[in-house]
């Protein structure tokens, strides 16, 4: 097969930003949904935990509103899983495979790449939230509070976890990231007020409540279970993680 003259004549130019963003977001979403471990981490485990913890009373929760206690925690877990763990592992391997380096030699701006990753995470979170709400309602969940407060907390939590995820994935090697992200996921799950109330840990509670997962699950619980306003302390904790994580990530992130 020969090339007709002019077929390869230079015609350089970057595509419109909107087109790049759309294509990149779709690619990021495809990659997430195609990755079995990611789906397990972001959907199967949170939903499974919600059902098991609600139906089997081996964890004692204050009051008798089990599903009302666990739904906010599982939402926090879901946000952590996609924005932090999934993001960190994805970025870590993309660096290792030289993908990010190569994309750096294309017209795709770094900012559009990061925005696409964020949009993909938000889209997955939307699916997670929808499924968690449906399963929660089937389990007899009776939500309170303002949906706007919930959205604000989820967005803030996403920013905090994304910053930490990019920091981890952008500085460590692929396999190291995998190990560290999974370990942190587990630690934050246990100490994040997801599986049991942090008050059971006594004196450590005030410190542990500053951890991002705990701040998010506590904030969501205050709103969704008690119908309170968003607690300032949780908002401040999440904002501090977001600012610190994103600032450090933008300084230390390595594309190769």
């Amino acid at each position: 097969m020969t090339w007709s003259p002019g077929a390869l004549a230079p015609a350089p130019g970057a595509a419109p930003t909107g087109q790049m963003l759309k294509a990149q977001t779709r690619a990021e979403l495809t990659l997430m949904l195609r990755n079995g471990e990611q789906v397990l981490l972001t959907l199967v485990i949170p939903l499974g935990l919600l059902v098991v913890l609600t139906l089997i009373p081996f964890v004692h929760v204050p009051g008798d509103d089990r599903v009302g206690f666990f739904v906010p925690g599982v939402i926090a877990l879901a946000v952590m899983s996609s924005a932090f763990t999934g993001q960190a592992i994805g970025v870590g391997f993309e660096r290792q495979y030289g993908v990010l380096k190569r994309l750096g030699a294309t017209p795709l701006p770094r900012s559009v790449l990061l925005l696409a990753k964020t949009l993909a995470v938000l889209a997955v979170e939307l699916v997670q939230l929808a499924l968690i709400c449906v399963v929660g309602l089937l389990l007899g969940w009776d939500p309170h509070g303002s949906p706007l407060a919930v959205i604000a907390l989820v967005v803030l939590g996403t920013a905090a976890f994304s910053g930490l995820g990019l920091l981890l994935g952008g500085t460590l090697r692929g396999l190291t990231t995998l190990a560290a992200a999974n370990l942190l996921w587990f630690v934050l799950l246990v100490l994040g007020g997801v599986l049991f109330p942090l008050s059971q840990l006594g004196a450590a509670e005030p410190v542990l409540r500053l951890l991002p997962t705990a701040a998010l699950s506590d904030g969501l619980r205050e709103v969704l279970q008690a119908g309170h306003a968003v607690p300032v302390r949780d908002v401040l904790a999440l904002a501090a993680w977001a600012v610190g994580g994103l600032a450090l990530a933008s300084r230390l992130f390595r594309w190769e």
């Binding site: 390869l8 230079p10 350089p12 595509a15 790049m20 017209p107 190769e256």
Partner: protein
């Protein structure tokens, strides 16, 4: 005079105090092909990656299409094929190429490009499941799909079968014919001989030879291969370079060819591959015959 597409002047790159690129200079006119040759570890990839903006030089000057290598304005204008990797393992060949095409304002048709590089059958196979040669061809497609003015191809035919190598050569020739500048690295001397307007041989970070293939291979003597240990006493100027490889000194003329073949016929010697100096001879003379670290 128009500015060259790529100009490298006295490039130095050090790692841990060791200069792995040490004063490399090149100048590549628009719509020409430059082949960078050199043994493993010579500094080819390092040189190319400095030009691509991936690595920071420690000395010297580099201008790519008249701009600094890291200038974002270059991104749409330059195509890059790294020596390895650079694709999402979880995307299919077609998805990956379409993604890169979507970054460009006037991309080539990805389906057509896949077809021409014989990737249509594996278009729906994920990158991680492609064979090494298929990954290599996809990477080449990714480098050119945005219709760049200048492409860097780091060992584009490494691991390719003869048909795929030929398709790659045709692509490079078509690029040049259409006005694209191509800088490639290779270990295949016949590839450089066929494609390159200009060959630059680097060794241990230094340019040891540069010029057109004709300039580099100019010189006296005919070479041939035959059984080792022949008696050369009645073939004037002949010597056995290494066992089985012979050189006959003298100006390369039709008469010299006739003399050598007549001698071979007289002695019943099968003198194969009778030819003047090839790029491979030059390369081995310049960089030595020993395998080095």
């Amino acid at each position: 005079m128009t500015t060259p597409a790529l100009e490298v002047d006295g490039l130095v790159k050090r790692y841990g105090g060791r200069a792995v690129v040490d004063g490399v200079s090149l100048s590549v006119p628009t719509a020409s092909v430059l082949a960078l040759l050199g043994p493993n570890g010579a500094g080819k990839t390092t040189t190319v990656e400095v030009c691509e903006g991936f690595r920071q030089p420690d000395g010297g000057a580099v201008r790519v299409l008249g701009l600094a290598p890291k200038d974002p304005a270059l991104r749409p204008r330059v195509g890059v094929m790294p020596q390895s990797g650079g694709a999402y393992p979880g995307l299919t060949a077609a998805e990956m190429l379409r993604l890169v095409a979507s970054y460009a304002r006037n991309p080539l048709d990805p389906a057509d490009l896949l077809d021409r590089l014989a990737l249509t059958d594996v278009a729906r196979t994920s990158y991680r499941r492609l064979s090494g040669g298929q990954q290599q061809r996809l990477s080449l497609a990714m480098a050119v799909v945005g219709r760049p003015e200048l492409v860097f191809l780091d060992e584009p035919t490494a691991g390719l079968d003869p048909q795929a190598r030929r398709a790659t050569w045709e692509l490079v020739e078509a690029l040049r014919a259409d006005g694209v500048t191509v800088v490639l690295t290779t270990h295949l001397l016949d590839e450089a001989e066929r494609l390159a307007d200009q060959v630059v041989v680097v060794d241990a970070g230094h340019v040891v030879a540069a010029g057109t293939v004709a300039e580099l291979t100019r010189g006296d003597g005919l070479r041939f291969t035959a059984a080792p240990g022949l008696d050369l006493s009645d073939l004037p100027g002949a010597a056995e370079e290494v066992p089985g490889r012979y050189v006959v000194a003298g100006a390369v003329t039709p008469q010299l060819y006739a003399d050598v073949t007549a001698w071979a016929a007289r002695r019943g010697v099968l003198a194969e591959d009778l030819r003047s100096r090839s790029l491979e001879d030059v390369f081995l003379e310049l960089t030595g015959r020993e395998l080095r670290a």
